[in-house]
Every structure is written in C-alpha cells, then in structure tokens.
Amino acid sequence: MSVIRIRNLRKAYFQKKVLHGIDLEVEAGQIVGYIGGNGAGKSTTIRILAGLDSRFDGEVEVMGFDVQKNPIEVKRRIGYIPEAADIYEMLSPREFYELVGGLQDLPWEITLKRSQRLEEYLQLSYGEDQRIDSFSKGMKQKVLLISGLLHDPDLIFLDEPLAGLDANSVIRVKELLQNLTERGKTIFYSSHIMEVVEKISDRIILLDKGKIVANGTFAEINAQVRSGSLENLFSELTGAGNESISDFDFTADE
C-alpha cells in the first residue's frame, strides 16, 4: 500500500521554482532517506506532505488523502518533526505534551503514559516541573521528537532529527526508528548526515535542484554510479564532485 503518492509536484516561491515536477510513491513500513543539497527542496516537500503548504501544483496524497483537500485527515495520521523548530520554552515538557496531545485530540492519560515511556527510552531526565528554557539543545530536540510521536502516527516526517543529540542519543533514536518500522510505521527521513541515512534507510531518494535524481535502495543506486559510499554518491549525482577541489587555495592571488 502506498502511503505517499506524488504526481508532477511543482512549487515556486515567487518567481523561483523550487520543485520541478516530482513523481514519487512510498510504500508502508519503510525508512525512506530523503537527501539533497542546501536549497534542493527537501523541507519544502516535507511541508507539503505534512499538509502545511497547500500552494503547489500537482497531486499529492498522503495516507490516501489529498493533502490540499483533507489536510486535517493527513495531520491526524502523520507525525511531523521539523528542523530546529521553536517550541514554547516557558512551558515544562509535560505542559508542552499536554498542548500537543490536546491538539491531536488525545486523552491526557494516554499522552502522559506515552510521553513518560518515550522520555525513559530516550533518556530524557529533568527536574519535576523544570521549564524547557533551561534545557540543553539536545534535550529540547528530544522533547520535539517525543511530541511528534505522541499520537502514534503511521507516517513520520523527520527533518534533521538528530541535530544536537549526543552519540548515545543518536543510537537510541536510530533504534527507535527501526522499532517503529517493525511496527508497520513509515519514516520519511531528511538529513545531511549521509552516514546515518545510508545505515538506516531502506530506500534513498536524492533530490537535486528540485528534481529526483536517484531513487532506490543504496545498493541499487550504487550499482549505477559505483561510488562506494552515500557521501560519494551524493557528490557524484549532485555534480559537486565534478570540480577539482584538491588544489584549492583561497589565498592564492594575494
């Protein structure tokens, strides 16, 4: 069953075209690594898929719902964890979960139970009723992750979810993602950290200048380009590896 179905998705900010006719289908129960250079259109795609941006051309269905016509139904079924998002820092994590759980129409008892389990799993500990504004960056990121998973979504969009996390937490989050896919969840994962994407993704989609330039398992894509690692593959497919950089000297003309 396809949880994401995109046909000829086009998007422009004013005169600048960001997405140039993307076609994509994603099956349930996969971890999809969505990678691309800065400004390639990754976050834009995710915002559209999450029902946050309805100003685009093309057809986009998520969990069987048209995101333009039924954004509420889409949001009910997905989890969205944006990159470096602001959260209400004057609240305690519990109060923040109460807000997010409430917005997802989740009973407080369930919100509390799930958040406690997730906090324990992600090793997030804090003083009773401690406010988020006294947290480190990694702790805030964990709160953000937990808040996106509270309603047990079937499809989870993660935009750089490991930002700010320490090594142990990264391992925990990776395990959590595997665990979620085993339970039939689909993860749509955007990141610049190629090593992690290569390791955890069942399928990799590489976006370059608003177009999909590679789509398949790492082995499938690597068979075409023979780069050895996702990092090299990325460099080959996005054209960054074509220029010679070894003899670069920024003080050369002085």
Binding site: S43, T44, A50, L52, I72, E73, V74, K75, R76, R77, Y80, P82, E83, A84, A85, D86, I87, Y88, E89, M90, L91, S92, E95, E98, L99, V100, G101, G102, L103, Q104, D105, W108, S125, Y126, G127, E128, D129, Q130, R131, D133, S134, F135, S136, K137, M139, S147
Partner: protein, 559 residues
C-alpha cells in the same frame, strides 16, 4: 542617516584609541547594528523586512511632540526654567524609549558568538554598545530638538542656540548613562538568573510611571500661574536633572544667577561627564557577565540551582479551568494560555503597563474637575457606565497580546497538528483571559457599582457584563490567528487594526446602554438578547468542527 552617525562617531577615533578600544571594530559593529535596527529591532535576525515607513511615522510623531515642547517657552517666562522643563521631557521620553526598546540590546547574547569570538576587547564591545544606543537616542533627540533649536535661533539668539546644542548632547549623555549604568550595575551585582527578571519588571514599572507622568499635566487647571515660575537657581532646581541643565544654560548665557545656579550647572556637568566615566569603568568584565547570563539558559537537571525556573502548582488556574472549560482541547488551551500569560515576561511587559494605564486615565477623567477645582466632585450614572465599559479594555488588551509573541515561530505546532475543533482553542484562550484579568476586575468594579449606586442597578451590571464579554468575542473573531503567532514588531495592519476597531466601537456600546436606559423595559430585554448571543456563541465555539482558524504569519523557512 546611519552613515552620517557612523561618520560622526568616526570623528572621535583618536579618543577611542586613546581609551584602549579598536575604532575600526567600533565602526563595523555600529554599522551592522544600525542596519539590523532598520530591518527589525527586537528579535534580531528573525525579521528582515524593512520598516522604514513605520519609522518615518514615529519620527514625525516625535517631531510633533517637539513642536509642542516649544509652547513651554510661551507658558513660562524664565527661559532657563522653561528649557529645564523641555530637557526634563526629553529625559523622560528618551529614557523610556531606551528602557523599553534598547534593554534587550544591552543583553544581546548573539554578540557572544559573533563579536566576542573575534579579537576585540571588552571596552570595544561596550563602547560600540553605548554608541549604538547613543545613535538610537540621538535620532529621537534630533526629532524632539529641531523645533526648539529653530525657536532659539530665531527668537532667543545665536549664542543661546549654540549653548542649547551643547546641552542637548549633555541631556542625551545623562539620560543614556543614567539608564545604562543602572543596567550595568545590575549585571555586575545581581545573580545572572535574576538579571533578566529584574530588568523585565523594571521596564513594567518604568513604563507605568511614564504613563502617569504623561497624564499629570492634564490635572493642571489654570496654566497662567506658570508665567512667573522660576525654578532654576532656586532649591527646587535641584529636584530633577533637566533643571540642572537649565542652571547650566543660565550660567553660560547670563554669566550669573547666584551660587545655586552654578551648583546646578556643576551637577549637570558632573552628571554627564561622570556618568560616561562611570559607564566605561563599570563595563569592565562585561563579556564575562554576558556569558554567565547566557549559561543560565543551558543548564541540565544536575546543575539547576534551587532557585531555577521551576513551575509551581496553580490551584486557582485548575479551579477556574474546571469551572470554565470541559476536559478536552478547551482546557488544554486554557492551561496553555494561562501558563504563558503568567510566565512570559515579554507578555507582561506589553500588557501590564497598558492595563494600568486605563484605570489611571479613568481616575483622572473622573476626578479631574475636583483636582483642578473647577467643579465640585460628583459621580453620576455616566460615570457608572464608564466604569462598566472600561472593563472591556481589561479583556481586550491581554486578549490582543495572546496573539503576539517573541516566540511566534513556536506557533507552527498549531498548523502541524490535526485539530478537529479549532474554535475550542479560541474558547480556551478567551476563558483564560476572562479568568485571569476580567474576573478579578469585574468583581471589584461590579461590587463598587452596586455598593455606591445601589442594588437597583443590577440590570446595568448584567447588561454591561454581557456586553463586555460579547465585545471580547467579536474582537477575538476580528483579530484571528493562532495563539502567540505574530511577531511583536510586525507592523502589519493585523497587529493594530483590531485594537483600532475596538477603540472606535467600544464607546458605541456604552452610549447604546446609556440611551437604552431611557426606554422602558429596554434594559432587561437587551440583557436577555446579549446574554443569549454570548451563550449561543460560546456553545458554537465549543462544539463546531472546522478548519484551523487563521493563517500562520511565520516568515522564513526555519520550520
């Protein structure tokens, strides 16, 4: 204009070098900060749209205030005393602007990454800050001062004009250093985790005092009594720094006036020069303190001090929530709004002074005639209605501020979640504001009305209360948008338009009530209709399904 100021600052480069600062770095920092000011002041780096149109309007308004100040010379014959008053107004006005607009600048911790990671010393950093603040103050000083300058050049004389120019600089120096030294002492003497809180509350109190000071002249009855007033050179001339400058003016233009004039002139010089010296002295170790201030925001559970940001239980909130909301999204919204209103210092800074302002205006309006001695004190039914309807402001001011936040980007959560009952958020928002602000005020006001005018006025109270809540509901619809989703310095119509509409429409409710009193049975019928509308509307808010209300006004692609 920024380039002009940077050039003027550059003229003193030998002085900066002599003091031990880096003139080139000062010039670069100043240019960058002035550029950032033009693109959005408070949450710098977040809002990049130019705000020159709004700024021009503000400066025009200040220049008009400057024209008004020239009239003081017509009211008071003694020029030094009149000038003392003018400079006193400058100090209050510019001081307030510094307190409300530039305090954040003093504690801008992005400087830690951007500036302190470069090879510049403490003095360069703190000098660039005071010069930045100086330019900010000078822009206001220029707008305020030009009309008085023209008056001096045309009607008083060339030498007094030059003295006036010099004293304008002194006024800015005294105002700036007076304000900043307070902050610097705070930064040095008070524990970092308390500094921001103290500054925040200081801003609230200072704004409140300014509002009251602004209203005081309206209590003056017969202004002709000021004609022969002389304060400079008299004991009262020591009372306010503005009058010291009047003493300095007198000493420099009339070369006489007795020892008290010279003493006041001396104090003015010492205040300006000494203030600057003290600022430079206090600014040592500034970077370390700034770093300490930043670290307050990055502690973990193990090193959180006992006095850290802990949340106390709120039995009042819980009790009111159980009375006013159902245990669903309504209560979530109620608790969320209550918590943010109670904890967000910037919300308090925006809300509290404006809320206190209304009672002050009300008291002055009611008692002005008695104060000025023009009429005997009396309160009739008109005053009662004014009391009943002024509570609308007590709801509308905080309600409007629940749409605005420095953390407006955090409102993405309302867009990203599936909320089948978006109106319950608005209901919880309204109830939280009613519970926190309206309820205590209403109990007080309605008790006063019933006690003073008599229980027979209960129908007026019922109708007034219904109207106030109905009005707040209308306002909440007009002013759409997610909770805390707009930037503070967003100069779009949405930030001030609804309040403007309220200002125009609110008196209509009061007048309507006044005329209904003349028609038999109109009051009870109106009360039933109004309360019927309120209850019906609330029922709809609590049960209607629908698309999320309002659109995000979050700019940028950071989420």
């Amino acid at each position: 204009m920024n380039k002009l100021f940077v050039w003027l600052v550059g003229l003193a480069n030998p002085l900066w070098s002599r003091l031990g600062a880096d003139p080139k770095a000062i010039s670069l920092i100043l240019s960058a900060k002035l550029k950032m000011d033009d693109r959005g002041g408070f949450a710098m780096g977040r809002q990049q749209s130019k705000k020159s149109g709004m700024q021009a309007f503000v400066y025009l308004f200040i220049a008009m205030f400057g024209v008004f100040l020239v009239m003081i010379f017509n009211l008071v014959n003694d020029v030094p005393t009149a000038l003392g008053f003018v400079f006193s107004f400058w100090m209050i006005y510019i001081g307030l602007m510094l307190i409300t607009e530039m305090s954040e600048n003093l504690f801008d911790q992005r400087d830690l990454y951007v500036l302190l990671s470069r090879p510049i010393n403490d003095l360069t950093l703190s000098l660039s800050r005071i010069l930045h603040i100086g330019v900010f103050a000078s822009k206001f000083g220029l707008c305020l001062g030009v009309p008085t300058g023209i008056y001096f050049l045309g009607w008083v004389g060339v030498w007094p004009f030059f003295v006036y120019l010099l004293l304008s600089v002194f006024t800015l120096l005294i105002t700036m250093t007076g304000t900043l030294v307070f902050y610097l002492i705070l930064l040095r003497r008070v524990a970092p985790e308390r500094v921001k809180k103290i500054v925040g509350y200081f801003q609230i109190v200072a704004t409140f005092i300014f509002f009251i000071a602004y209203q005081l002249p309206s209590l003056v009855g017969d202004i002709s009594q000021f004609k022969e007033l002389v304060l400079v050179g008299e004991p009262l001339g020591f009372a306010f720094p503005g009058l010291w400058l009047g003493g300095l003016y007198k000493a420099m233009t009339q070369l006489g006036g007795g020892w008290m004039t010279f003493a006041q002139a001396g104090i003015a010089v010492v205040a300006a020069v000494g203030g600057l010296w003290f600022y430079v002295r206090q600014s040592r170790g500034y970077a370390d303190r700034l770093l300490a201030l930043r670290e307050v925001g990055s502690v973990t559970v193990d090193d959180l001090p006992a006095s850290g940001k802990k949340i106390k239980g709120s039995p009042i909130r819980d009790r009111l929530a159980s009375w006013l909301t159902a245990p669903n999204l309504e209560r979530v919204s109620f608790n969320f709004h209550w918590n943010v209103m109670l904890r967000d210092l910037t919300f308090k800074q925006r809300t509290y002074p404006a809320m206190v302002y209304m009672p002050v205006v009300l008291v002055i309006t009611v008692f002005r005639d008695a104060f000025t001695g023009e009429e005997a004190f009396s309160v009739g039914e008109g005053t009662m209605l004014m009391l009943l309807y002024f509570v609308i402001w007590i709801i509308v001011i905080p309600l409007g501020q629940t749409k605005v936040s420095d953390q407006y980007r955090a409102a993405w959560i309302f867009e990203a979640t599936a909320n089948p009952y978006p109106h319950r958020i608005k209901y919880g928002q309204l109830m939280a504001v009613l519970g926190m602000f309206f309820l205590p005020t209403a109990i007080l006001v309605y008790s006063v009305v019933l006690a003073y005018w008599g229980p027979s006025y209960w129908l007026d109270v019922v109708l007034g209360c219904g109207n106030a809540i109905l009005f707040a509901m209308i306002y909440n619809v007009v002013d759409s948008g997610h909770p805390f989703s707009r930037a503070k310095d967003d100069s779009k119509f949405s930030n001030f338009g609804p309040l403007l509409i309220v200002s125009l429409l609110a008196p209509l409710f009061g007048f309507g009530h006044y005329y209904l009193r003349e028609i038999p049975y109109a009051l009870p019928v109106s009360a039933v209709i109004v309360w019927g509308m309120v209850i019906g509307w609330m029922y709809w808010m609590r049960n209607a399904k629908g698309a999320a209300a309002g659109a995000m006004e979050v700019e940028g692609a950071g989420w």
